[in-house]
């Protein structure tokens, strides 16, 4: 293994540049180093002006998505050794506007997440009294076991949605999806998977409300099942599967509503 590797990093300084350019840095190549460690080496020792996002460096916070050698990756989980002898191309995530260097603008994604109502929607009438944060009396040394109002949920019921709850909002799937690249209106893979996560939760009753958002043209129907989102996803969420399953549900719901205009739930 050579002891250095070249990073070809895309730079974009909005004050001066109208287009991104490329800058090369030579960084040590170590067995344990991820691309992110290489960038940190650059930042600390070679060029302090390089901007990028990172935090947990353990593949869970979802902030360090970049395009590495053309593929959307978490830079903290893409190892330099796998790209030896290099050079390694490091670019911002595709399909998003670039704010600076490797930092992309994700406001659009954030608003889409909120759009799908990603919270438990309770049954209309069955409101519960203690939501206001009141203290329920729990006796000293007393047991809380018997009389709690916990919802039961068997492991099998949890299995229904669990996979879709593993999304870390890293947006690699958006960077991989050509439909999103072509049409930023498309609500996109992670947001739909999140909607499915709640729809499939046995505690939730909001499927109908979410359907109204997602059955619009920019919702699920824009997806042509390219499937790249699932391939790019570092957490095995399978958004492509979520979307297709959702299409099936949405279509059968429409059909039901069409055939039984009144009675349909």
């Amino acid at each position: 293994m050579p002891d250095h590797i070249t990073l070809r990093v895309t730079r974009y300084r909005p004050e001066e540049d109208t287009e991104p350019g490329i800058q090369e840095y030579e960084v040590p190549l170590r067995e344990e180093w991820a691309v992110l460690d290489g960038l940190n080496h650059v930042k600390d020792h070679l060029d302090a002006t390089l901007s990028y996002r990172w935090s947990c460096r353990m593949g869970i916070c979802g902030s360090c998505g970049m395009t590495v050698n053309g593929e959307p990756k978490l830079s903290c989980a893409a190892f330099l050794a796998d790209y030896a002898p290099g050079p390694v191309r490091v670019e911002p995530l595709a399909n998003f506007p670039v704010i600076r260097d490797l930092v992309v603008e994700i406001g659009d994604f954030m608003s889409k997440l909120a759009k799908v109502k990603p919270w438990i929607i309770e049954e209309p009438q069955a409101g519960r009294g203690d939501e206001a944060g009141g203290d329920r009396e729990v006796g000293r040394g007393g047991l809380v076991g018997g009389d709690t109002d916990e919802h039961l949920q068997t492991p099998a019921e949890m299995d229904e949605y669990h996979q879709f709850s593993m999304c870390i909002n890293c947006m690699l799937c958006y960077a991989a999806c050509p439909v999103y690249g072509l049409d930023p209106q498309f609500i996109g893979p992670a947001a739909i998977a999140l909607a499915q996560r709640y729809n499939l939760d046995s505690r939730d009753h909001g499927a109908a409300e979410r359907l109204d958002v997602l059955s619009q043209h920019d919702g699920i129907w824009g997806c042509t099942f390219v499937g790249e989102c699932t391939r790019a996803c570092p957490k095995d969420v399978d958004p492509a599967g979520a979307i297709q399953r959702y299409k099936l549900t949405a279509a059968t719901e429409s059909l039901k509503a069409f055939l039984l205009p009144r009675g349909a739930k």
Partner: protein, 118 residues
């Protein structure tokens, strides 16, 4: 809650049905009538046999479904291929009319051929 009446779900259902049916039946049919028989690897079925088979009501229905749904499948997929591949979304209306129009006309013709003129 006002339910939006969007045609998309129905179009998608037709697309999917067509996808399934064409995937199941077409490969063998193309292979037989498009490749193997024309190449003379096997001799073609006799006219009477084939006519008998085609006049069977079940065959008529299956073939009609295959043709009509496959055309819907094509219309839907092709429409999105035009959007994505050629980026001509601004011609949206035109594309929609053209694609689904062809599918409808094709289906009517298929119905005529299979049920009326045969």
């Amino acid at each position: 809650m006002a339910r939006r009446r969007s045609p998309e779900p129905y179009l998608w259902l037709l697309f999917s049905a067509g996808g399934v049916l064409s995937a199941l039946l077409m490969p063998i049919l193309v292979l037989l009538f498009g490749v193997v028989i024309p190449l003379g690897w096997i001799s073609p079925p006799g006219h009477e046999d084939l006519l008998g088979l085609l006049r069977n009501p079940i065959t008529r229905i299956v073939l009609f479904a295959l043709c009509a749904l496959s055309l819907c499948h094509w219309a839907h997929r092709f429409r999105y291929t035009l959007y994505d591949g050629l980026r001509i979304k601004h011609l949206n209306e035109l594309i929609i009319v053209a694609c689904y129009g062809v599918a409808i006309i094709g289906s009517i013709m298929a119905g005529y051929l299979l049920f009326v003129s045969l």
